[in-house]
Amino acid sequence: MNLKILRTLPREKAFYFFTSIGNYTGESATSLKEFTDKISEVNVKSLEFHFYRGDFEKWTAEVLEDKELAEQIGTLRKMSPIGENLKNGLHHILIRRYSRLRSTL
């Protein structure tokens, strides 16, 4: 299961970062590792756009198939972080999750 979560997805299942409806930044992620890296690189505006639409939870649960990670992101959402707090919060959750999954392989 952990190996499955860490797999690289095909291009059409990647997460595509937008800043608003229809405005694609050019950044995408095809794996949990790449997603973790991109979270600290992309514009905070893009993070806020997706975070409050529930896009990160949806993608991690339905595409990456990591329900535990989706729940952790959902918990963060209840705290309504914005800006750098959001970026740091997300990055912290993702790094921790990625490290845990890697260590169990």
């Binding site: 291009r11 059409e12 990647a14 595509y16 937008f18 409806i21 229809g22 405005n23 694609y24 050019g26």
Partner: protein, 173 residues
């Protein structure tokens, strides 16, 4: 007469007929002939010739979608692309029923400009995120939603100032 670059030579009578047809394509040959002062058989021959050569592509109905109750949204996408992949992206876009028009444009970067229709903002976003952003060669996308329409006409003979002058000059003689 057909030229090498796939164009067809048109004289002022052809242009005047096209102009009249673009205003109302349901007119009879007789009515067109009468308004232009030429025989209906001439109108018939010219129209058939222009249909044969593909100058007249089709006769269609222009529908006011707002009056049909459809609440669609229209947006203009500007797609920045890798020049090597641009044609492939444009052709792929043409296959999507949501895409109404596709153009390429060269400014500082090679762009594709496409007009897209969607039921609502969410379906517009879903379409762009799932079907446009993943296309190889797409670098980034800017989308503007149209909020109010001030003018919409299709290109016609009457929109082309040089040809219009030509038609008017011939009509006055």
């Amino acid at each position: 007469m057909k030229f090498k670059n796939n164009t067809v030579a048109l004289d002022s009578t052809d242009l005047r007929i096209l102009n009249v047809l673009q205003e109302n394509a349901r007119q009879t040959y007789t009515a067109i002939g009468k308004s232009l002062g030429i025989a209906h058989s001439t109108v018939y021959d010219r129209i058939k010739r222009m249909e044969r050569h593909g100058i007249i592509k089709e006769y269609t109905a222009v529908i006011d979608t707002e009056k049909t109750g459809a609440k669609n949204i229209i947006a203009i996408m500007t797609i920045f692309t890798d020049p090597k992949e641009s044609d492939k992206v444009a052709k792929k876009l043409c296959q999507a029923p949501q895409i109404l028009e596709v153009y390429t444009s060269l400014s500082e970067e090679l762009l594709i400009i496409a007009k897209v229709v969607a039921e609502n903002q969410e379906s517009l976003h879903e379409f762009i995120a799932r079907s446009v952003a993943p296309l190889p060669g797409v670098l980034r996308i800017r989308t503007s939603m149209i909020t109010k329409k001030f003018k919409e006409t299709r290109f016609s003979i009457a929109n082309n100032p040089r040809q219009l002058t030509f038609i008017k000059e011939k009509s006055n003689k």
